[in-house]
């Protein structure tokens, strides 16, 4: 304790705890987090809370209006919309989480290594990333899925590919600043290898920036997945996906608008929630806003 008394004026490092505390005190972030958690819980608990089997067809009750035995109505095959939405959340979250995890690891590594090595190598790598960035996510995803064929793994690969470049950029910028810091030089003087310095000393320092990007890009991944499903390049039917359900609903939009409205609203809600969390985290970790 005497030690803490010795250095009263040393400013506390703005770390995770402070950023999280700040994010928590922000109502927008809180609402976003609640939305995301509710959807996540719904996806995990789908087998237990879904009132019907999502693939169970019942020709007698096709295109039933919301209410009664089917809280959100049924589609043209008589399948329960609510159950399909709950199961569809699994696909949306699996694909976006998986894709962003892959993009985060690969893109982050590329960015850190490129920034750390610097020079012409860095220039070349970043030019390649710029080329990848110049494709809109949807177009790039479309090309990849069209080439590989639509299934869950390929969807993850396609969306991951579209998000690698932004993660590389986000990881590179703070690495450039960090590698000039004295503690990195001290690490060299202690005989640490380059890999050790990158992954043990630089990585923990850039993690907050990367995590903020993760939540923002998750929202993009959800959108891209829904768009690909909508145009028929998503996970194949009868597996329920939100994009695919919206597409199916379009065929009956005049007499049964809820078919398209409910999955569309689900997509909107998840994207909104993720963006709210991302914005809150970004504000909390932004050094310009931090000291206010």
């Amino acid at each position: 304790m005497s030690a803490t008394a010795e250095a009263p004026a040393v400013p506390r490092m703005p770390g995770w705890r402070k950023a999280l505390g700040k994010a928590r005190s922000n109502p927008t972030t809180l609402i976003g987090a609640v939305i995301c958690l509710v959807i996540l819980a719904a996806a995990i608990l789908a087998p237990w809370i879904a009132p019907h089997d999502p693939a169970e067809q019942d020709i007698m009750t096709r295109l039933a209006a919301p209410g009664g035995d089917y809280p959100l109505g049924t589609d043209q095959f008589g399948r329960d919309i609510l159950s399909r939405l709950l199961w569809g959340a699994r696909i949306s979250l699996t694909v976006s989480l998986g894709a962003i995890a892959v993009a985060c690891v690969i893109g982050g590594t590329i960015g850190m290594v490129s920034g750390y090595i610097g020079g012409r190598f860095d220039l070349f790598v970043m030019q390649v990333m710029d080329v990848m960035l110049s494709f809109p996510s949807l177009i790039l995803g479309l090309i990849v899925v069209a080439l590989l064929g639509p299934d869950l793994v390929n969807l993850v690969v396609a969306i991951a590919l579209t998000a690698i470049a932004p993660f590389a950029r986000i990881a590179r910028a703070p690495t450039l600043a960090l590698k000039e810091r004295a503690f990195i030089e001290a690490g060299h003087a202690l005989g640490y290898s380059h890999l050790r310095i990158i992954f043990r000393h630089i990585l923990p320092n850039i993690l907050p920036e990367v995590m903020v990007m993760t939540s923002l890009w998750m929202a993009t991944a959800v959108r891209v997945e829904a768009s690909l499903s909508f145009i028929g390049l998503g996970v194949k039917p009868p597996t329920p996906t939100w994009g695919g359900m919206t597409r199916d609903g379009f065929e009956n939009i005049l007499d049964s608008p809820w078919l398209a409205v409910f999955p569309g609203f689900a997509i909107l809600l998840l994207v909104l929630g993720l963006n709210m969390v991302g914005d809150g985290l970004r504000d909390a970790t932004d050094p310009k806003l931090r000291n206010e």
Binding site: A182, F183, H188, Y192, R200
Partner: protein
Amino acid sequence: MLAKAALDVEDLRTEFRIAGTWRAAVRGVSFSLERNETLALVGESGCGKSVTALSIMGLVQPPLGRVAGGSILLDGQEVAGLSEAQWETLRGDRIGMIFQEPMTSLNPVMTVGDQVAEALVIHKGLSRAAALEKTRALFEEVKIPSPATRLREYPHQFSGGMRQRVMIAMALACEPAVLLADEPTTALDVTIQAQVLGLLADLRERHGMAVLFITHNLGVVAQIADRVAVMYAGQIVEEGPVANIFAAPAHPYTRALFAAIPRLDQPHQALSAIPGRVPPLDAMPVGCAFASRCPQKRAGCEEPQVLVPIGAAHRARCHVATGATACAAAVLNE
């Protein structure tokens, strides 16, 4: 020279690439350092002190810079020109370094205990638990109070002086034979500075280390060094035992450095500065690099100067002080 020196630097030449041309920042520096001895490397900013230290650590690497010539013997082993992988096993193990900035030399997101223990895990192959136990002992040795709890704290919870003690513990963890201290006390206030210097002298004694102490503070030199080497424009211009240099500085630059120290016993003095500036790397004169700023400049200064003895273990690079020119030295050598 009795036994083999802990560190023997011979004709070290370090170059940096400036606008496509290699320019020498360190030009033929030689010195040797015994165990349990402190050599102070003195000079103004930009004279090549830190570059000399970084070269000895193998931290001047292409494409930015290179060690272009000379030899560096660490306990008799040639280390100039080793591969990066070989350097990684030496650095932190057999040769340690302390930096100037204790506030930024520690990783802000790792506990100090883990940072010190890391070197032990890498070089000595200890388990994390054993390394942390050794770290606790090291913290005690560098006089960090309540080491067991402070191990688990982060750098921001430490004051500047305490952080520098952590840095010293890190550099000493693997008991290196040679310790390079690059202005380790410059960023500290005077009372803490005295404590850290005392600690360094004490540790040197206990571990029998050779210490290369880089500073521009002559007061610190008097306090800690056995010998002094004065650097100017990438060369050693004067070298000798600390008492000789302080009593009878021979090179005009050394004298100018002493004259620039404000004196407490002379109330109405103006602070004296050395006029002019160090010649830039791309316009280094053939002759004495200090000539353009030297009050004793005369014919012969434009010729290359040689480092020759002017007393017991005392050498200077100035023909005015030593009477030796490059030609005369060449004749003498033959």
